[in-house]
């Protein structure tokens, strides 16, 4: 198979657009949360300033090789997740490496970042990081379960594992979206989505008022800047998968921006209304509500 050199600059262009969109959208969603609390919140360009400041710190402490590799794994998880699914369906420029990726790879990458982070934070040796890791991994596992069930249900429904084909099957009118043809799977997946976005009610892992900020306790300077860059890319990449699987994909950048914003808004919408769950409460919630819906969706399909 001939190697398509043009794909490389196009992938970098996609990455660039998504990174900037991620920074701005993250700040925008925080501003929405702030407005819900009747205050103005951070300026929309605040994420850029934080990243520049963290990269510009003059010193940093390392705890070993795995500590350094933690943010690297996380960032590669985010970037890989983005590049292996079609960002804009049907566009040669922006479908990246989706010829080689499929659903199982996407599921793998979603979890890969968290695991790498857990190893890195464990190396830092801080007891708060250790507690944060146990909480975070158990919660993320419970939140991934409905998503995985929904993914299997969708794969069974469309009889294919390739994301491009699934998006293709949803084109036409918007009644072809999986949202309307398989609503149970979409419900399960969207409820699982809330858990992995680390917003209330499921943000006990990273909340500063809990144990000091959980796994990233010892991370600082460039390490933290890498992780913050990932925090811009990874949610967008995950939402791209959701969009492709359940909401019909995006034909052009305008519908991409709109759909990603609306799906992100769903988590913020729930987030500003609710207080935090403890870890066992959230695991119990995941096992009681989204998982049976996901199982039901597999049986029904």
């Amino acid at each position: 198979m001939a190697f398509d050199w043009m794909k490389i600059p196009y992938s970098l262009l996609t990455l660039f657009i998504v990174v900037n969109y991620g920074f701005l959208l993250g700040a925008f969603i925080q501003k929405i949360g702030a407005r819900a609390g009747r205050r103005h919140g951070i300026p929309v360009w605040q994420n850029y300033l934080d990243i520049i400041k963290n990269y510009g710190q003059r010193s940093s402490i390392t705890h070993g090789v795995m500590f350094y590799l933690g943010p690297v794994f996380r960032l590669s998880g985010g970037v890989g997740l983005l590049l292996f699914v079609p960002t804009i369906y049907g566009s040669y420029m922006f479908s990246n490496l989706s010829f080689a990726g499929d659903l199982i790879l996407a599921l793998y990458f979603v979890f890969f970042g968290t695991l790498g982070m857990a190893l890195g934070a464990g190396e830092s040796g801080h007891p708060h990081a250790a507690i944060g890791i146990t909480r975070g991994l158990s919660q993320v596992t419970a939140a991934e379960l409905p998503f995985a069930l929904a993914v299997f249900s969708v794969a069974l429904q469309y009889q294919t594992l390739s994301v491009t084909d699934i998006v293709g099957a949803q084109q036409g009118s918007f009644l072809n979206w999986t949202l309307f043809t398989n609503p149970l799977a979409v419900t399960a997946a969207m409820l699982g989505f809330l858990g992995s976005m680390m917003r209330p009610p499921f943000d006990v892992v990273l909340a500063p008022q809990e144990i000091p900020i959980g796994p990233p306790t010892e991370y600082h300077s460039s390490y933290l800047a890498l992780m913050q860059t990932n925090r811009a890319i990874f949610p967008i990449a995950k939402i791209v998968i959701y969009m492709n699987l359940f909401f019909g994909g995006a034909d052009n950048w305008a519908s991409f921006f709109l759909k990603v914003f609306l799906i992100y808004l769903w988590s913020a919408f729930v987030g500003v209304c609710f207080p935090r769950f403890r870890v066992e409460q959230s695991i119990r919630w995941f096992l009681i509500w989204p998982v049976p819906i996901g199982l039901l969706s597999i049986l029904v399909v």
């Binding site: 205050r39 951070i42 300033l49 400041k53 000091p212 991370y219 600082h220």
Partner: protein
């Protein structure tokens, strides 16, 4: 001077039965003194970094004294310090501003030094209230220090007992101007006069059981 027993030099028996000698203060901590971290590259890059550092001030969430009560309103909608790019971080590794809010007793000074030395350079210290300037209300107390800048390099003082949140916001704005002008080099000042600061600290902290510099 009695240290905690786990910090003293002693013989330990490992899980494989081998006995070895361990001296925790020397073995578990890094012994290197702090170095002066020079400004980066060219002037324009350093100006960009200073601007970013000023507009993204991360305060260590450590309320050392009664002034902490004046920092809490800044998180509420009425004063909203988040508009200024100020956030509170719970861990010293991620913070670059330490606010000494109010009187500093000797016990807290030991912890504040430990937190300050764990922060990454460049870092700033703001003294809140008159107790950090000349002892304030506790000028004749046996347990509080009277001059903060003998123990930590202070960039800015905010006067008052306690200053109102508006005064704090004005102080942070002044601090931003200072940093953007390139004058926020407290960490380098600490590294250059390290021996003097350490001598002052050890003079008041009688039960020193930390390494000389807590990386």
């Amino acid at each position: 001077m009695s240290m905690k027993p786990e910090l003293m030099k002693r013989m330990v028996k490992g899980p494989d039965g081998v006995e070895f000698e361990v001296e925790p203060l020397r073995d578990y901590y890094c012994e290197a003194p702090p170095t002066v971290m020079p400004a980066a590259y060219s002037k324009i890059v350093e100006d960009l970094f200073n601007w970013a550092r000023a507009e993204s001030l991360w305060i260590l969430g450590f309320g050392t004294g009664c002034g902490a009560i004046e920092m809490r309103p800044l998180m509420t909608p009425r004063f909203d310090a988040y508009r200024y790019g100020i956030q509170w971080r719970p861990t010293p590794r991620q913070a670059n501003l330490l606010v000494i809010s109010g009187y500093l007793s000797v016990k807290t000074l030991k912890r504040a030094i430990r937190a300050y030395e764990q922060m990454q350079s460049p870092k700033y210290v703001v003294g809140l209230g008159s107790c950090t300037i000349n002892g304030g209300m506790y000028w004749d107390s046996y347990n509080t220090i009277k001059r903060l800048d003998d123990y930590l390099p202070v960039d800015l003082y905010i006067t008052g007992c306690m200053p109102r949140p508006e005064a704090l916001l004005a102080g942070f704005t002044d601090l931003k101007k200072l940093i953007k002008a390139g004058k926020g080099e407290g960490a380098n000042q600490y590294a250059e006069n390290f021996a003097w600061y350490k001598a002052n600290q050890k003079q008041v902290i009688h039960d020193w059981d930390m390494p000389d510099y807590n990386w």
